[in-house]
Symmetry: C2
Subunit: 356 residues, 2 copies
Amino acid sequence: MLNHGGDLDIIQKKYNISREKIIDFSGNINPLGISNKIENTIKNNINVITTYPDKDYISLKNSISTYCNCNKNNIIVGNGSTEIISLFIKNLSPKNAIIVSPSYSEYERELKNNNCNIHFFDLKEEDDFLLNVDKLISCINDNIDLIVLCNPNNPTGTAINNNQIKLILNKCKFLMIDETYAEFSSDIENICATSLVNDYDNLFVIRGTSKFFGVPGIRLGYGICKNKNILDKINKYKDPWSVNSIANLIGISMFDDKEYIQNTKNLILNQKQFIFEELSKIKNLKFYKSSSNFILCKILNNKTTSSKLFEDLIKENILIRDAKSFPFLDDTFFRFCILSEKNNRLLIQKFKNILS
Amino acid sequence: MLNHGGDLDIIQKKYNISREKIIDFSGNINPLGISNKIENTIKNNINVITTYPDKDYISLKNSISTYCNCNKNNIIVGNGSTEIISLFIKNLSPKNAIIVSPSYSEYERELKNNNCNIHFFDLKEEDDFLLNVDKLISCINDNIDLIVLCNPNNPTGTAINNNQIKLILNKCKFLMIDETYAEFSSDIENICATSLVNDYDNLFVIRGTSKFFGVPGIRLGYGICKNKNILDKINKYKDPWSVNSIANLIGISMFDDKEYIQNTKNLILNQKQFIFEELSKIKNLKFYKSSSNFILCKILNNKTTSSKLFEDLIKENILIRDAKSFPFLDDTFFRFCILSEKNNRLLIQKFKNILS
C-alpha cells in the first residue's frame, strides 16, 4: 500500500523497474534537482560529518529567519516536516482535533498515536474542494483543541488566503498550517501565514524543504510559532541534533539561493499554464485549479479507473499517484506533479491516448 | 554548561577560538576522520539527497546485520543512538529504572521526560569504578522495570563481560545496554552483548556510529533486540525517514570498510598502551584502566582542579572534558580521549608540566 507519494523502493520491487528509470510524477518534488551551488557546497565541506551539528542551529535559524522574514527565536528546526508535525502534536497533546480533509496522512497518524479524537472536515467535490471557511468555523466548539490545515492542500491543490486564515485563528484554540507547498504558489504573499505568527499566539506554521528545494533526502523541516509555552515544551522534549550536519550545511546556503528559487517558480508557473491548457482539451477529464506544483484530476467516464490508469502508466515507467487512498476520494481521482517540459508533454500525451 | 563532550560551538563562542583550531580531546571521536572510500562514495552519489531514503532501510539493515552478526529483523535504525534511546524508553515506558552511574546524561533526561522514577546505582571510586554486579542484582526488585548500562561505561571506561551481563539479564525485567564504545575495546567478543540478543527477550542493545566511525555529523545509530512487542511498538510510533539519505548511503558502505576498522583498532590499542605508560610516570595523577578510547583521570594533589586544568588547557586550544558535571564525580576528575600520536604526546607533556 502506497501511503506516501514517492515510495520508489516499493514500486521498484513490485514492478521490477530500477528506481533510476521511474519518471516520478507522484512525489511532488521539484524537478530541477539540486543547484551546482549546493553540490559544490557539499563536495567542499564533506568534513562537516566528522563533527556534531550546532545543537542550537544558530546559522541555520538565521538563514530561515531571513528567508521567511520572521524572528529567529520563533523557529524550530527538525528532521523533515514529519518531526515538526510529530513534536508539535505530541507537545500540544490535543484531545479533539479537526483535520481539513482529504489531506496528508501523517497528521492523522500522529494524532492517533497521541490518542486524540479526530474529526474530519471534508472538502466537498461540489465546491471543487475549496474550503468553506464559514462552515469550518461553525464546527469549532470548546472541545476542539486543534485545527489541522495543509495550505495549499495536498492532494486537492486548493488554498485559502490570509483573511480567511485570520477568521479561523479568531475562533480556534490552535491552528496548525502545513505550508509544505506554499512556495510553489504564484500568490504566496496572500497564502502563506508566516506574517501572521507575530499577531497570533495560537498559530503554528510548518514548512518542509523536500518538495520546493528538491531535497527529500536531507530531512530538513521547520516550524514557526510565537507561543512560548509550546516552543519551550518542544525544545525540552526534542532530541538534540536531529538535523544532521549535511542538512544543516545545505540549509544554511539553500534559502539564500535566489537563482534556484526564481528558476523553480518560473518553471512551475509556465508548465502549470501549459498543462492546464492541455488538460482542458481532454474530454472525460476534470482537473482542479491548483495553487501548488501538483494537480488533482477526476476521470469522468467509465473507460478506466485511477488504479487502472496507474497500472497502465507504471508499465511505461511513469508513476502517478492513485488518489483513492485519500479519505473522501474514490477510484476516479488521481494526482500528478509538474516535472520538466519534456516529461509533462509525455504524460499529457499518455492521458490523451488513454482517456480520449 | 557543557552537557556533552564536543560542544564545539559553545567553546568557540566562550573562548573565542575557531572550531577548526580546537584539539578536541572531549568528544571521544575517532581521530582518523573519514576514509577516502567514504569521501568518494559521497562525492559520487550526492544525488541521493534528491530522493527519500528507503523507509524500511533494507540495504542498511543488511549491512548492519553482517557487521554485527545478527538477524536483520531484530534491527531498528535511527537518528543517532539518541533517537534509539529515546524511542526505546518512550515505548517501554518504565515506571522505575536504575541507571548505573556516573554515565551519559541522555538516559536520565529521557527517563525524566517520560516521568520515570530514577534510581542511580553508583560505581564506587574505591572499586576503581568497576561495576559490582552482585550488588547491582541485589538492588533489583519487582518494581524495577529497566536497568540502564553503558558498556564500556562513559566516563569511567570500565566494562563488564558477557557472563556478568547474563547474571543481570536473568534477574531484571529489561536491560538496555549502550554499546557506543564497545568497538574500541580490545576484548570486544567478551564485552559486546549482541550475541546474547537471540537468547534474551529482555535485552535491548544500542549502538552509535559517531564515535567509532568518526561521523557524529551523519546521525546514525541502531538498536538490536528480539522482543517483538517492543520492536512493533517502536516501528509503529517512530517517524519515517529519520536517517537521511546521506547517512543511509554512508552506513551501507561504512560497516564493510575493514581497513578503516582495523586501522582504528590498531591506533587506539597502540596509543592507549603508550598513554598508560606515560600517565604512570606522572605523580599526583591516578588513571582508570579503560576498555574504550577515552581515559578518566583523578588529580591527587591540591595544585589544580579539573576546572582549572580545563581552563589552562583551553587557552592553548586543547579541549578536555571536566568530569565534575557527572553524578558522583567531583572537581578532581577529568576525561580525555585518544587522538593522533602527535596530539597525545602534546597532551601528556601538558599534564606533566601542570601536574608534576
